[in-house]
Every structure is written in C-alpha cells, then in structure tokens.
Symmetry: C2
C-alpha cells in the first residue's frame, strides 16, 4: 500500500528520480561502476554537474543574465555564513527580515561576521504572518529574506522592492512558482525539499554582486573561488548533485516552473479549502500569507490529536506532524507531491470529521 509522504524535508522526490538514483548507485550509465565510486572529475560526472547547473539557469529564466550556479556542501545553514562573509563588509550593515526560525538563524549566523539590522519581524505573533510595507534603509550592504517559512507555513507573495542587493533563502519553495528571479542578487537553497537528496545546497549568484568586501575569505567560504573552479573547488556531494540533476530534468520535462506552479496551486487550494471548511480543523498562518508548500493547521480540540494520529497511520499518511517547536500538523506539499496524495489527506480529514465532528 502506497505511503503518502508529507515530510517537511528531507522530503518526497519524484518516483522516477528515486528509481534512477538507485540504478545509478548500482551501475552508472553502463560504466560497470557505481556513481558513488567514480571520480568526481570523470567526464561522466562533470557532465552531470554541468547539465544540472545549466538546467537551473534555464528553469529560473536566468540564462545570459550574469548569474553563476554552484552546488556546494553544508546546506542552507552554511550559506547563512557564506553570504555574510562574501557580502557584508567590515564597516557595513546587512538587513534581515525575521519571518521564522530559519530566517532568525540566518541573521544570527551573520551577526558573528558583521553588523546586522532586523528591518522587520513577525515574531510578535509567533511568525504567523509576513511583515508588510517593509522600510529598507538604502545604506545596507544587502537585504536578506526567507521566501517561505517551512515551520510556520507562511510565504512571501510580494517581495519588498529595494535598491540594495536582494538575497533570498528559497530552501523550501525554489522552483515552485514563477517569479522574476532576476530581481534577486543571490538565491540559495538546501537541496532536500524541492531539488534533491540532502547533502548539497544550490547557490545562484549574480557575479556583479561579489568582490565588494575587503575581507580575506578562506577559499572554501569564497563564492568567487567556487565560481572560478566551476563548482568543483573540492569534491562535491556526488550522489546529492546527481539527484538534483534528475529532479531538474524531471521538472523541465513536466513543463518547467509554470506547469508545476499550476499543480502546486491546485494542491494548496484543495487542502486549504478543506481546512477552512472542516469543523474540526483550523489553519495557523495568516490567510493572505499562506504557503503553497507547507500547510500548517491544528485540531481545534487538542484532545482529538491522538485519534487523528491513529487514523493518519491507518491511512498510510506519514510526516504530517508539525515541527517539534510548534506542534500541530504540517502538510508539506512540495513539487514532487502528487495531487492524489493531497486528495487522500483531504478525504481522511473528512472521514475524521464524520467520526468525531
């Protein structure tokens, strides 16, 4: 019986990605060797990482616009630090919008490296909304946003307009909706939600934004060094990068971001409609800021949780528990999540209402 996997990350990947990744671990492209025992400098793997980098630019509509693509190690958490090292000058200040745990972590890590200003925050209401009409000082080195807040289920649907470089952690919603990505000077994302297996991060950076700080940056933390070496400054996370390549190719074959956005909107609409209709549940995020990727909700009567958890288990629904810091429920409905699994969850919520409503 099929498992319906609503895990927040690492999370569901397309079945063909899983299948091809497993095959490559046994024998990569008929080489007679496993993907994980060949040199990262073999023509076969160099081709994988280069195709993946090209697909990123193609899917984001950033070809020939002065951007470089890197697959680095360390996840988004390492980019919190790398961003500040590369863009926050010794006497400068960087602006951060604090929309959740990860946004807060990003500014926290940057504060080890330079001065940061929290230009807006939604902490006052437990991060249940996205701050609006953010005033961005023009003397900042950059403004940092987190486009989607995995834990709280909120998402920027409009981005603040600004004259300074715009940096965005898109870990949990990259490739999920059409945006003018050229408005951003640096986009980064951990792989393990919409891109591939954990173990790599994706960085898309406008070359012109680099080289402006005087700081001496260790090579491994220096974006320019990684760009110069075409994302092969050191051994990349080979298997993870391969799953990214497979997922990007899968997304392209599907029709790219416009096609997946239509599916994502249909899935989110279906689930939010049920949450709003069902007498037993309620959403936790401000309606206008609801995420298309992470749908957070609670049972109005907490005493029913144990019974709902039991039904979820019976119905083969996994990964629906809210983040350990907030409780409740969270359905992560990333790109690879099929509509049928969302329908199955909705039916299960309806069944539960018939049982206990």
């Amino acid at each position: 019986m099929k498992k319906h996997n609503f895990s927040a990350g690492p999370s569901i990947l397309a079945p063909e990605v899983i299948q091809k990744a497993a095959e490559a671990v046994v024998d990569f492209e008929g080489m007679g060797l496993s993907l994980i025992e060949i040199s990262h400098r073999s023509p076969e793997f160099v081709s994988v990482i280069n195709k993946a980098r090209a697909l990123v630019l193609e899917l984001l509509d950033l070809e020939d616009k002065g951007y470089s693509v890197l697959f680095l190690q360390g996840g988004a958490s390492m980019e919190f630090v790398r961003v500040a090292y590369n863009l926050l000058s010794d006497n400068g200040k960087a602006g951060y919008v604090n929309t959740g745990t990860w946004a807060n972590n990003a500014q926290n890590e940057a504060s080890f490296i330079g001065e940061i200003i929290e230009v807006a925050s939604s902490k006052d209401k437990n991060y249940s909304y996205i701050p609006k009409e953010i005033i961005v000082p023009n003397d900042l080195d950059y403004l940092h946003l987190t486009s989607n807040n995995t834990i709280y289920g909120t998402q920027f649907h409009q981005f603040p307009s600004t004259q300074i470089p715009l940096i965005c952690d898109m870990s949990s919603d990259i490739f999920s909706r059409v945006l003018d990505f050229s408005k951003f000077d640096l986009i980064y994302a951990g792989a393990q939600k919409n891109i591939g297996a954990a173990g790599t991060s994706l960085v898309v950076v406008k070359d012109a934004v680099l080289g402006k700080v005087q700081r001496n940056i260790p090579n491994i933390l220096n974006y320019a060094k990684h760009i110069e070496r075409e994302s092969m400054y050191h051994t990349p996370s080979v298997f993870s990068v391969y799953t990214c390549y497979l997922t990007l190719q899968w997304l392209k074959d599907l029709g790219g971001i416009p096609a997946i956005e239509r599916k994502n909107r249909a899935k989110a609409h279906l689930l939010y409609s049920e949450i709003d209709r069902n007498s037993l549940f309620e959403g936790t995020a401000a309606v206008e800021d609801r995420s298309l990727m992470n749908v957070t909700f609670v049972l109005k009567d907490l005493k029913l949780e144990e019974k709902f958890d039991l039904l979820l288990k019976e119905k083969n629904i996994s990964g629906l528990k809210g983040h350990r810091t907030v409780g409740g429920y969270r359905a992560s409905i990333y790109n690879a999540m099929p509509l049928e699994s969302v329908m199955h969850l909705v039916e299960t919520m309806q069944t539960f209402e018939r049982m206990f409503g």
Copy 2:
C-alpha cells in the same frame, strides 16, 4: 566483465555497501519510503547516525576516552577551516607539516584565520618523502599533519612526538592500519576514500581540546555546537552518512582495523614488489615512506604510456591515471579494494613487460 577500480576518491566501496545503499534508496528498512525522502530526525535515521558514531569509536579503540564523533558537511576542505577557527587562538600560532597538495591547502586555509608556521616541508623534492626528525616548538596551539598524501603516495609511518595538541587529516588512510589513535586530539577525514560516499566528513575530536580560543565562531563552524546537538545541528548528508554506517559495519564484521591492515599490507607488498621487479616501471615515493593506500609509479620510458593505457583499458582497469598535477600512474588500493584486483594489475604489468620489455 568486472571493472577493477583504482580511483583515488571517490573510490571503490565494498560490493555489499553499494548493494544495500541502492536498496535503501528504493525502500529503507521496509518503511515503504526511500532513505532520501524521510526526515533526518526520524527514529530510523537517528539510529543510523548514532550507530555509525559508535562504530567509529569502537573501531578506533577510542571508547570512553573523552572523544566525540561528528559527521559534518563540507569534506576535509571545510575541516581545514573549522580546525583553525576552533583551535587557533587570535594571538597564537599553529604548526603545519607540508607533505603535499592537501597538506599545503590545509595550512593555506588556516592562514586566513590566524598565524601558521610551516614546521617542515618536503616540497623541495616534489613531496616524494616524509620529513623526519621534525622539531615542534612547544608554544604552538597545535601541530597539523596529513597522515597519507593521496597525490604523491607517501605516508607517515612514524608520527612526530609532541607535547601540543596533534591534529591529523586522515582522509586517505583512516581505518586502514592500527595506530594509537588516542595520541591525536582531532582526526578528520573526507568520507570518499575509506568511509563512504562523498558528501560528508568524519570528525573525531577530544572534547578537552575545545573551548580554548576566545573567538566568536558561527554555529555551523563551531565543533562544540555540533557536539551539543549530537551531529544533528542541521540536516546531515543523509545518504552519505548511511554509506558510512554500512562501511563501518562491514569493516567491523571483517574483523576491524587489525584484519583490514593485514589485507592492506599484502596488497601493497604485492604491488610494490612488482614495481621494483618490473624493468619498465619505477616507484616515485621514497621507499621508506611509501603509502599503503596510494601506490604511485611511472613508466621509465614515457613513450610507452599510450600503449600501457591501451592495455589497461583492455584489461578493464580504471582510475589508474596519476593526479592531473603529477602525471604517471597511481593505484589507490583502499580498504575495499580486493587482493584479486591488485593481482590482476600486477599480471597486466607483467604482460606489458613481455610485450615491450
């Protein structure tokens, strides 16, 4: 026909590790989900990383000796930086022994963070030997060594004795020979040679050596933070860590480090004997410093290279090319390399001698 994989890294893994890793990508432990789409905080994965951490201490005979084990992201190259951040004080100095490209990279990265002293070097003879009778000043924060030099095929068979903390990059020979690992205060290694798939690094650190620098260290670069969170400060490289667990278990089942060392010595002896006997080849590393892991050699007559390369291809021998910076040949005969592949290489060298000797 079987491929004989002498790649320097990413490199050969045990066949059962490859097989089990591929199976886990399809369905992990009968969960009905892939290993790469479950939460890293699921009990199933937490058990994997904890078993792997315990196996490391058991295999290195470091149980109950005050050491912590971490699986981090970034490879050995990131540890070059993390070591210096955590152990090199603002007014202190660290000593480095420069025995090759990676040793040189380690000290180079550290020099971005603090003052370093090159206490010995073998650069004068193209890193073909290991410096002896190294004088180590007692006022250094630590001494850094690279136990095995993948590119040049040299290896420390005796370590300098010192009163200061001893740090060692064991990327290409960890778990390959019995050592008194308790002499080291911090050991690190990229996974992709003797431990598992690229995408993670292993760090084994004596807790007492930490906390002595005043520097404010970003969390992701702070060993103490990773120890506090039991190697789960952020999402680890799940698949890579799983392959490490499988390899460590495979090594334990085989009889641990004493058993693998016997095999490694037999393989190295067989190959070096042939290099010394065969009239067409010669070794490039000083005999007394020859590595048990990376066997470097050249054809005396460079004009024969094309013909030897052709024969290697015919005989299904891959990954034997020397590093792009040094040329010649390098047979990497890590733990997972079977004796029969080394015998096959030796027979191929003998065939070549009959053809062109």
